[in-house]
């Protein structure tokens, strides 16, 4: 029997607000342990939470960017469980009345530009827990509460993914989106974006959902894809063997490439959700929503589609440009000034990206302005310098305070494009190499390249290669 994989995703993203969700403590990764906490986020007796409204704004932005309905009234609930990193014994979250509901995200799922629409069930706000620390240096465990009370949004998808590749494309789209919105730095390695996966399988053609299994401890997007494939295969094998799938929570081990049961159904938590009496109902009026809507930037998926369509770029180049907002801005600026889009994209994705990688610099730390970059592209376009010379110019205008023209001047990179001078050289070279001419006419097309190379040598590398080739061809009587 053929099976279909059905996947739903729950993405947690830490919000990059200045302060925590319910107290004035700084929201910052990597500080010395237990230095960013106060009576509220350590749950001292008597301390009370007060909602940071910036958290609501960030969640609304995400809701708008994913086409959700923003509920004008929603509440905050307490979700109870005991764990040492959860100081209050409950997490402030949202139960049956989330802030955002019923949206979707259109995601390009392959390089040919195929776009799929994935449903977003809800987006709600909640707080993060602290972190347990285990080390051989001490007995037992310690708790760092710097992260306690850091704001999160949880983005719950519909079970709309039919492959691990779709799930991964969606996760990458979510990551790009929160970064573009400026609401999260979405660093998987710092835990600021995390994901739980629900996987079920069903016979192809079936409309009913199979029993889902939840997986936790997924630390990378590629790990998510591996975990989905593993779990789907496990379920199919089980069903084929005559077994049934039980609802349970499994823990993914990316090193071993397998998962193990964390919690079976009998031990499912009863979180005893109820409205947090310390906090007020969240009321969002329309003017607030509209102000946030008007502040939305162009969203990454839409921008991707625009780059591929308007500039006729292949997927890879559009993706490389959009992966770094500064690159996308620079690219659009030079094209706006009149540069050829294809050529600008080639330089951006080729040498510019290579040089940034070699130097370990982000684009914003270089001296590559749109004006200088355009000047360089224009010199090449006009034939004033060769592509090879362009590479030398680029490296200098990126890292030195010098214009493209000044580099050309200083290094003598100007290209000989004077027709008469070049024709004269071609005549001489053809005359001096009768063997090569003969070979060419005998069918050895390599001889053409040899003759062009000889001409280039005569110009000490400064001859315009395209013109030289053209004149050699003319001299050989083939154009």
């Amino acid at each position: 029997m053929k099976y279909e994989i059905v996947v739903g995703l729950e993405v947690h993203t830490e919000l990059a607000t200045e302060s925590k969700a319910y107290c004035g403590c700084k929201n910052q990764f990597g500080a010395a342990v237990n230095t960013l906490c106060c009576p509220v986020c350590t749950a001292m007796p008597g301390a009370l939470p007060v909602l940071n409204e910036k958290v609501v704004d960030a969640a609304i932005l995400m809701g708008l960017a994913t086409n959700c309905t923003i509920n004008p009234i929603c509440k905050q609930d307490r979700k109870h469980y005991f764990y040492p990193d959860l100081p209050k014994g409950y997490q402030i979250s949202q139960g049956d009345m989330p802030l955002c509901e019923g949206g979707y995200l259109d995601v390009m799922v392959d390089q040919s530009g195929t776009t799929r629409r994935f449903g977003i069930t809800r987006i709600h706000i909640e707080e993060d827990a602290g972190k347990m620390m285990h080390d051989d240096a001490f007995d037992g465990s310690l708790v760092d509460l710097n992260r306690s009370g850091v704001p999160l949004i949880e983005i719950v998808s519909e079970p709309d993914f039919r492959s691990s590749a779709e799930a991964k494309a969606y996760l990458e789209a979510i990551r790009e989106l929160v970064i573009a919105l400026g609401i999260s730095d979405a660093k998987m390695q710092e835990g600021s974006i995390r994901c739980d996966v629900n996987v079920s399988v069903r016979p192809v053609g079936s409309q009913t959902l199979g029993t889902r299994v939840e997986m936790k401890n997924l630390n990378s997007f590629s790990g998510v894809a591996r975990a989905i494939d593993y779990e789907a295969a496990r379920q199919i094998a089980m069903i084929e063997a005559g077994g049934t799938i039980e609802y349970e929570t499994r823990r993914w081990d990316d090193i071993k490439g397998e998962n193990v049961v964390m919690r079976s159904k009998e031990y499912a938590h009863d979180y005893r959700y109820f409205p947090d009496p310390d906090l007020l109902t969240i009321v969002v009026d329309n003017s607030r929503i509209e102000a946030l809507r008007s502040s939305l930037p162009e969203l990454p998926q839409a921008k991707m589609r625009r780059f591929m369509a308007d500039y006729a770029l292949p997927y890879d180049q559009a993706a490389t440009l959009l992966a770094d907002p500064d690159k996308a801005v620079l690219f659009e600026a030079v094209v706006g000034m009149g540069a050829n889009a294809k050529s600008a994209a080639n330089w951006m994705c080729g040498d510019v990206t290579r040089l940034l990688g070699e130097r370990g610099h982000p684009l914003e730390d270089t001296r590559l302005t749109a004006e200088r970059f355009y000047e360089m592209l224009n010199l090449i376009e006009r034939g004033a310098i060769s592509t090879a010379a362009g590479k030398i110019v680029l490296e200098r205008i990126m890292f030195e305070d010098i214009s493209a023209a000044a580099v050309v001047e200083a290094e003598g990179l100007g290209q000989i494009s004077d027709a008469d001078a070049l024709r004269e050289i071609v005549r001489a070279v053809v005359a001096q190499n009768p063997k090569a001419v003969e070979d060419f006419h005998g069918g050895k097309t390599n001889a053409l390249g040899f003759l062009v190379g000889q001409c280039m040598r005569q110009t000490k590398g400064k001859g315009n290669p395209e013109l030289l080739r053209q004149y050699v061809e003319q001299a050989l009587g083939i154009s």
Binding site: P39, P45, G46, Y83, V143
Partner: protein, 486 residues
């Protein structure tokens, strides 16, 4: 008259005239505590040194000719569920024995700023759960009127300390009657303010939607002064109201002429002792003679209030007390093998039986499958009761009821019978459920020569009106009587 018997304005006048110093006043109260505390047992912790430093600071201000707050130099004490930086805050529980908070409750900061002198921390029922102070894990507090009887609860230490002149004013907290019941039992004045008028920041939470901190004192004026010092918006408490408050002392002396007072039938029926009913009705008659109009009203959902209260308050308590897990502070069981054992044993050993009973009750009513039947219906009943009060205040300015069905009972009388203990709250819980202000003031004595209380209930933020009527009645009946302690 001894200094320790004086009211806040009397002490203020002495200070301003230079007749005595704040240090002398503080020392006089400390001597009084030394003399009677063995019999009463109101204090869990005395903060003598800090009190004397605060008094010295007030004396310096006087010497420098600075303007004094009316509470400057006035000795006060705090229920031991209010966080005090540097002074142990136990909630009368083994769970928090020796716990020293790193911060002050907002009310504590406000009283410190006013220059009030904090003598110490007062006994209560464990985590404010109880009506007699007997669930305290720390000590027994006795009623100054008869030391074989309870002071009431949960703010029993706060009421007993004021009645025995071990402090001029005290703060209590009231979730279902915990200020008003002990005020009635000990013959003092106690205010449960409008929900949201006093910041709860730093009050160790019992039931967040019902808890309010309020003042207790021997005179209405003292209580009004103290309320004025602690009320007002606090950005640290999201449920704190944003509004301005009047000078409450200006409301005193206004009389009762033209006011309509409602008497709800449901508070005068079965379960209310004949003597309590008689005392309250005599007080009502006296107010009528002064020009008030008396109107019988009905608050029909009252019989359901106690159940709704115990469901909602226990649900919130079970959640609020989750933070006591043995990890960061407080009691931790020793020799645990794993995490679950650490949680279970720390909580089993750290909490007393009444607290555990409420946690279990609250956990049950929030459990999936029972939520709608219990917590959901409790909240619905809460809305209905609030609506009935709203309707009642369309036709009357305030409502008078007994504070409690009887006077103080004997120590141990209700310990084995939680339902009987819970029933002492029957007249007070509705006020918390509806978020209203209510004031209990002394109103005669019962057949055991124990004080009984009258409860004035007003619409939200009508404290000034309550003070005015209470002050008028206080004058009519002669005011506070000192219990016969030597």
């Amino acid at each position: 008259m001894n200094l320790y018997e004086k009211s806040a304005p009397e002490l203020g006048a002495l200070l301003r005239s230079g007749a005595c110093s704040a240090v002398e006043i503080t020392k006089d109260h400390l001597r009084r505590i030394g003399a009677v505390e063995d019999k009463i047992g109101a204090y869990i912790t005395l903060s003598e040194e800090r009190a004397l430093q605060q008094a010295e600071a007030v004396d310096k201000k006087i010497a420098a000719g600075e303007t004094l707050h009316p509470l400057a130099g006035v000795p006060i004490a705090l229920k031991d569920n209010l966080c005090t930086q540097g002074i142990a805050t136990t909630c009368a529980s083994k769970m928090l024995e020796g716990f020293v908070p790193p911060y002050n409750a907002t009310v504590v900061s406000r009283l410190d700023t006013a220059g009030a002198v904090t003598l110490g921390k007062l006994n209560l029922d464990e985590f404010a759960m109880g009506s007699s102070c007997e669930s305290s894990a720390m000590k027994i507090t006795r009623n100054p009127w008869n030391t074989n009887r309870v002071p009431g609860g949960s703010s029993g230490g706060s009421a007993a300390a004021v009645a025995a002149c071990e402090a001029v004013l005290t703060l209590g907290s009231d979730t279902g009657g915990s200020i008003r019941l002990p005020s009635a039992y000990c013959g003092v004045v106690g205010l449960k303010p409008t929900y949201g008028s006093v910041s709860r920041y730093g009050l160790v939470a019992f039931a967040s939607s019902l808890d309010q901190i309020g003042p207790m004192g021997r005179t209405v004026e003292d209580v009004a002064l103290c309320y004025g010092a602690i009320c007002g918006h606090d950005p640290l408490d999201a449920t704190s109201a944003r509004r301005d408050y009047p000078d409450f002392t200006e409301a005193l002396g206004g009389g009762v002429h033209g006011l309509t007072i409602g008497l709800p039938d449901e508070y005068f029926g079965e379960g209310i002792s004949a003597k309590v009913r008689q005392n309250v009705l005599e007080a009502v008659a006296a107010l009528e003679a002064e020009g008030a109009t008396i109107r019988r009203i009905s608050l029909p959902s009252t019989p359901h209030a106690l159940s709704a209260y115990y469901i909602v308050s226990s649900a919130e308590a079970s959640s609020n007390l989750s933070r006591f897990d043995g990890i960061r502070y407080g009691y931790r069981a020793e020799g645990c093998e794993n995490l679950n054992e650490l949680f279970e044993r720390s909580r089993s050993e750290g909490f007393g039986p009444e607290v555990k009973r409420r946690i279990m009750l609250g956990t049950f009513v929030l459990t999936g499958g029972y939520y709608d039947d219990y917590y959901g219906r409790g909240r619905m009943m809460q809305q209905r009761i609030a609506a009935e009060f709203s309707d009642a205040f369309e036709e009357c300015d305030l409502i008078i009821t007994p504070t409690a069905p009887t006077g103080a009972f004997e120590l141990g009388a209700n310990i084995g019978d939680p339902l009987k203990m819970y029933a002492t709250d029957v007249c007070t819980v509705t006020v918390n459920i509806a978020g209203l202000p209510a004031l209990s003031l002394p109103c005669g004595f019962d057949e055991n020569q124990m004080p009984t209380g009258l409860q004035l209930i007003g619409p939200k933020f009508s404290e000034a009106r309550l003070f005015g009527v209470a002050h008028h009645y206080e004058k009519l009946c002669g005011g506070f009587k000192l219990p016969g302690l030597s």
